[in-house]
């Protein structure tokens, strides 16, 4: 399979769930000459704890992730987003790794992956390498995979201490893309202060964005509404929304501010 992927090179695309790729091909937005279907590589259909991280294989469907027992113990923000990906029929077929690789700025998973600080495992005929999610997401529908490489696994760190998270998604209807989505992830030290903060933004830039300044403002602080309000302002200032059919840019920016605050409150109050 990897030899075939190497052979077709830039002309090839990996087909996993196909729930984004096939619709794009119908619209001629994607025109690969070759599809390399990995659906019979059932060894890649796993979601499991692997030491200090949750390992999500290339064929783990959204529904299988959503149904994972104790998902919230591993990652509260993943547990929050998993049931709201697309619709139930798409969740039965589509994969998280495929969504991550697709790098659609309106995709939900990459905001969550930014918030939790995930790592992507890429594999090719030459071997494996790991890529941080920040380096993996390059631009609009563009990842940093080389020709002949595919996403084999995504690794989500399991925080050792108390943590919380939330995914707030404004959308017009089930199955529609997010008008705005905000992923928040918080970790706390023994004194109750925020030791780590992750915020990822959906549909408000050319790709999923990390709200780095808002994250930095949270670390070392005691959780609280005033602090979260400030973080919301910083996140809103950092995003790059465009006016479109789902709303004007000003509105989306206001939603980023409010949803960041609400998400952080939910993350802090529901932490475990």
């Amino acid at each position: 399979m990897l030899a075939k992927l190497a052979e077709v090179g830039e002309e090839g695309r990996v087909l996993a769930g196909g729930q984004s790729l096939i619709p794009m091909m119908k619209l001629r937005l994607a025109t690969p000459s070759y599809l390399v279907d990995i659906n019979k590589l059932t060894d890649l259909a796993y979601v499991r704890q692997d030491n200090d991280h949750l390992a999500v294989g290339a064929l783990a469907r959204h529904a299988e992730i959503a149904e994972l027992e104790n998902l919230a113990d591993f990652s509260p923000v993943m547990a929050d987003v998993a049931p709201s990906i697309a619709d139930p029929l798409v969740r039965n077929r589509g994969t998280m790794c495929g969504s991550v690789a697709h790098c659609d700025p309106e995709g939900d998973w990459n905001s969550v992956m930014l918030a939790v600080g995930a790592t992507v495992v890429a594999v090719s005929a030459e071997g494996e390498r790991t890529i941080t999610i920040d380096d993996f997401i390059v631009d609009f529908f563009t990842n940093s995979l080389q020709a002949g490489e595919m996403v084999k696994e995504v690794r989500v760190p399991i925080p050792p201490g108390r943590k919380g998270g939330a995914y707030l998604k404004l959308h017009r209807k089930v199955g529609d893309y997010a008008t705005v989505g905000v992923a928040t992830h918080l970790e706390f030290d023994d004194a109750g202060k925020i030791s780590k903060a992750g915020i990822g933004l959906t549909s408000v830039g050319p790709h999923n964005l990390r709200a780095a300044e808002a994250e930095a403002a949270l670390v070392g602080q005691d959780p609280g509404e005033e602090l979260f309000d400030h973080a919301g302002e910083l996140a809103a200032a950092s995003c790059e929304p465009a006016s479109d059919v789902r709303g004007p840019a000003k509105y989306k920016r206001a939603v980023v501010k409010e949803y960041t605050k609400r998400g952080l409150l939910k993350a802090a109050n529901g932490s475990n």
Partner: protein, 160 residues
């Protein structure tokens, strides 16, 4: 490419182009036209089939990917001369008007009842949230799926 797909318990063989969508194989080559093409963009769920046990959109996969799989369509619901309880309930509760979405709705509903025989309103609406109906306003569809659950329970067994 040569494929063999088990649909409603019967093996169908076909020689298909790799680009052929599963929905087109089912409708045009096998001749089972109960599965509908609605939006053709993964939005509406009219093309829903049961693919290896789970409801999925047959417009968003290729026929070659179904080689060696088992598929259920609306034609496979009835058992002999008897309607499936979900079909009876859609009739009795008037869960359809134009009927275009109905095959998908019934398959998703029957699939839900296998794991949740007594679903709440919210649970039914959640389960059918990938299927669009432009006629009914959904109220009678929800009632029909719940009625089917009760009638399966009364009959003392599940249908598959």
């Amino acid at each position: 490419m040569q494929i063999t797909v088990k649909i409603n318990g019967t093996d169908y063989e076909g020689d298909v182009e790799p680009r052929l969508l599963l929905i087109d194989f089912i409708r045009s080559q096998v001749g089972l036209t109960g599965t509908h093409i609605g939006c053709d963009t993964s939005s509406c769920g009219a093309c829903t089939v049961i693919f290896n046990g789970k409801p999925m959109k047959s417009c968003t996969m290729f026929a070659v990917q179904a080689d060696g799989t088992e598929i259920g369509t609306v034609e496979g619901l009835k058992q002999g001369a008897n309607l499936h309880p979900i079909q009876t309930a859609f009739h009795e509760k008037h869960g359809l008007q134009c009927e275009f979405c109905t095959p998908g709705m019934m398959l998703v509903g029957a699939s839900l009842l296998e794991t949740n025989p007594n679903p709440s309103d919210d649970e039914v609406r959640w389960a059918i949230s990938g299927n669009i109906c432009r006629c009914t306003g959904y109220t009678n569809i929800v009632a029909a799926i719940q009625e089917a659950g009760r009638s399966i329970a009364t009959a003392g067994g599940s249908w598959s």
